[in-house]
């Protein structure tokens, strides 16, 4: 389950949650891009890296591109709180 908010929700059909298949965070985010091409470039940059100021959590824990994802896991994509 991939959860998005803010403008990402608008770009993914207006839905906050998406059931997708993938063994890693990167695979899931690429599956999200494949399902919704409008989100291409918004979460992952051209290198295939999660943008610097976006945080991804798997079941509440910080995760990166290579983090494993299992069936039933909850993957949340959240803009980072930045600044002072």
């Amino acid at each position: 389950m991939v959860c998005v908010r803010g403008p990402l929700r608008k770009l993914t059909g207006g839905r906050p949650e998406h059931e997708l298949q993938g063994a890693t965070v990167l695979a899931l985010l690429q599956a999200l891009e494949a399902a919704y091409p409008e989100v291409d470039g918004w979460i992952l940059d051209e290198r295939g890296l999660i943008r610097r100021h976006i945080n991804v959590f798997v079941n509440g824990g910080r995760a990166g591109e290579a983090s494993d994802v299992r069936s039933g896991d909850r993957v949340e994509v959240i803009p980072a709180i930045t600044g002072g």
Binding site: P7, L8, E38, G41, W42, I43, D45, E46, R47, G48, L49, R51, H53, I54, P79, A80, T82
Partner: protein
């Protein structure tokens, strides 16, 4: 009626009014987001804006209904799978062919659109320059911030990259050559000047449309003129300027001998000299400069004007000039810089101004 399209740190503003008679804000878009550059294509009426979300990266958007609705353009990105990501899009410029629009960004990348800005492709000739691995970024990144077209000739283009210098093409961007002869970066040791990859920190360039081989450059310490289409440059930074450091530069399209600069103290103190805001004008190709400050703040005014925040409309005696500062102040002149009025105050920090 003059329209000002203003990119700021917190959104896009469109103002309308008459010089000297006041302007009103008509539109605000991209609230809260940095709008690095915005312009209206006079051929189509389309508004184009470059927006760099701190979260979601740089994008180009366009609007065909005066800013009410915006569409994201396609293709303004680096090739996937490389080792770089697009950091920011600094400028958009209309081309000479119908529908052609250019965009420049960081890392030193040029994009081209043939459909008025709805879709973009990277210019491979510049992207694949063999010297690219040796290009050095300026303080604002490796930004391609200046795009000078050649009136009537779509094959000829000049672009400037901080700090990879000037690049010139005469075959529509298939091949490029440098155009830095005569430029003397004072921040480099003498021994490094022979290294063409050592930083040439161009800040802004304008071409004189009635004599296209003539160009004016604001450099990182130096004001220059070229009479051979950007191949070589002559220092014109003396002759009355309080400083030859600054970012923006503008010209009067009716007069190839004209240029306007807004000097700042120096790279270590990027504010208007002596707490006075003044525009400097030359009408003799840079041999002499005269201060134009009637109506501008003249006491305890320490403003910073960025490279894209100086614009013009019309020409000759009707030339209008506008510039914005990071203070959020916006100033305008309806008489070629002789007198000035305050167009707006308390805007977010102004990144870019375009007038039409």
């Amino acid at each position: 009626m003059t329209e000002l399209v203003v990119g700021t740190k917190k959104g896009l503003f469109v103002l309308e009014g008459e010089p000297g008679e006041g302007f009103e804000i008509q539109t605000r878009a991209f609230a809260g987001q940095p709008v690095d550059f915005a312009t209206r294509d006079p051929r189509s009426g389309r508004l184009l804006a470059t927006v760099t979300s701190p979260f979601y990266g740089p994008k180009i958007f366009y609007s065909d209904d005066a800013g009410a609705d915006w569409e994201q353009a396609e293709g303004a990105a680096l090739p996937e799978g490389g080792d770089r990501a697009l950091e920011r899009i600094w400028v958009i410029a209309c081309g000479q062919d119908s529908g052609t629009v250019y965009a420049g960004g960081d890392p030193g990348v040029l994009f081209e659109s043939r459909d008025g800005g709805a879709s973009w492709e990277i210019n491979a000739g510049l992207w694949e320059q063999p010297s690219r691995p040796h290009w050095q970024p300026g303080g604002g990144g490796l930004c391609l911030h200046t795009i000078c077209t050649w009136p009537g000739d779509p094959d000829r283009l000049a672009v400037a990259v901080s700090a990879a210098g000037m690049w010139l093409t005469e075959d529509a961007g298939r091949t490029w050559r440098r155009g830095n002869e005569g430029i003397v970066p004072r921040y480099l040791p003498q021994e490094a000047l022979a290294d063409e990859n050592a930083g040439r920190c161009v800040h802004h360039v304008e071409r004189a449309p009635k004599r296209p081989e003539r160009m004016f450059m604001q450099f990182h310490g130096g004001v220059y003129r070229s009479d051979d289409a950007g191949a070589s440059w002559t220092d014109i930074g003396g002759g009355g300027l309080p400083s030859d450091f600054g970012f923006p530069l503008m010209i009067d399209p009716a007069d190839p001998d004209s240029a306007y600069v807004i000097p700042l103290v120096a790279d270590m103190d990027r504010v208007t000299p002596d707490g006075r805001v003044r525009v400097y004008e030359t009408r003799d190709g840079g041999a002499s400069w005269a201060a134009r400050g009637d109506g501008l703040p003249s006491e305890h005014a320490y403003l910073t004007v960025l490279r894209q925040a100086f614009a013009r409309a019309a020409e000759g005696d009707a030339l209008q000039l506008y510039f914005g500062a990071t203070s959020g102040d916006l100033f305008g002149s309806g008489d070629a810089g002789a007198t000035w009025t305050t167009v707006a105050t308390r805007l977010p920090p102004v990144f870019s101004v375009e007038a039409s």
